[in-house]
Amino acid sequence: MFRHIDPRSPIPLYVQIANRLRVAVATGEVVPATPLPSVRQLAAEIRVNPATVVQAYRELERDGIVESRQGAGTFVRELAEPKRASERQREARRLVRALVAQASGLALTREDLEHAWKNETGGRS
């Protein structure tokens, strides 16, 4: 799941990890009540500083995506649809923002992008 965590990105690692989980919860990839891996497990698995995982989990908890239960671990919460939709939107906007920034750096126009979108998605919406 965390294959695309990029330490070279200007986005802090803990934000990348939290965002990945956020989207997974919002799209239903990870269902409510799923236990998250322990800090120890995840840090060793994706090879990041344990403090980074702690920070990511803390941020998710603060935003109401997960809850930690004393002694039992950290679990995914049930999110209402409006919240899930807004998280999906947030991630989609992030992707588009990156695309637009890159495209304008290359002086590609909106028409160029729309044309490419149609071609790549075969006309599907």
Partner: protein
């Protein structure tokens, strides 16, 4: 620290501060003096001036207590090649009061090292893993690793790193890793110190290093500059434009360029390796 190394080589102006519980990456090109610094920290070399304190204790006065709580993997570690893995563990463990034999066994299994294998027969990667096993099983307060992954294949590096991080998750050990392999440190370090030609040129939290340093592509960059709101690291003329590398960048600083008649074409984030290269470039050449 104001020590002297080999004749003709000096460390000067090195004020290192490693906070407890940090994973501190000590970066620098080959020959910068990283190993010399480590040798000074562990009492293997004596300084000519300055003071050294590790784990709250003075070097060299309280060296035995420091070394008892420190796991050290030197650049070229040495173990007696006629020992088996099991014997090497027993030998090393005997020196440390708190040596965790069960943890050593768990690591040995996890690293897939046969107890009866003679050290002389182990591959480089297996030796590397054995050294990690030995220092982690000490359950030290401080880990000092000098170029720990150099020459090891990626699989071994990952396994070693995972075990190290697993260990860090369990407690509040402080880790001091010196390396010129910047990419690995980027994932795990929360502090970095950069050494170049015997001088510490930067020491700051990882996020501050990565966020603050930018490459700026410009047209009509000013040739003479007075005070800048940022720290100018280097200036270069490329084929297409001028490129400035700055530290302490804030987005509002674009106005400074506009006021100077320059046009900012692009602001690029530098990853740790690029930031490191630019920092060294800036430290070595005057920019005014």
């Amino acid at each position: 620290m104001l020590p002297t190394g080999a004749p003709g080589f000096e460390l000067r102006d090195v004020s290192l501060k490693v906070r407890q519980g940090a994973i501190y990456g000590f970066l620098g090109p080959n020959g910068a003096g990283k190993t010399t610094t480590i040798q000074l920290l562990l009492g293997l070399l004596r300084p000519q001036g300055g003071s050294i304190s590790v784990l709250g204790r003075q070097v060299p006065l309280e060296l035995p207590r420091i070394l008892g709580a420190t796991g050290y993997i030197p650049e070229r570690p040495h173990l007696y090649p006629f020992l088996t893995v099991a014997q090497a563990i027993r030998f090393h463990g005997a020196f440390y009061r708190g040596f965790d034999w069960a943890y050593a066994e768990e690591l040995r299994r996890g690293f897939d090292l046969r107890g009866e294998a003679k050290l002389a027969r182990l591959s480089k990667g297996e030796m590397g893993k054995l050294h990690v096993l030995l220092v982690l099983a000490q359950r030290p307060e401080l880990l000092v690793l000098d170029e720990p992954t150099d020459g090891l294949d990626p699989v071994v590096r990952r396994d070693g790193l995972s075990a190290l991080l697993d260990f860090c998750s369990q407690g509040a050990a402080t880790v001091f890793i010196s390396s010129h392999l910047v990419h690995e440190l980027e994932r795990i370090c929360d502090w970095i110190g950069v050494l170049d030609r015997g001088r510490l040129v930067a020491e700051l939290p990882m996020h501050a290093f990565k966020n603050g340093i930018k490459r700026i592509r410009l047209d009509h960059a000013p040739s003479l500059i007075g005070d800048t709101p940022f720290l100018l690291v280097s200036r270069q003329q490329s084929a297409l434009d001028q490129v400035w590398v700055v530290r302490g960048w804030q987005p509002t600083m674009v106005q400074w360029f506009q006021g100077a008649g320059a046009k900012v074409k692009e602001i690029v984030d530098l990853d740790l390796e690029e930031g490191f290269v630019e920092l060294l470039r800036g430290a070595r050449t005057p920019t005014s």
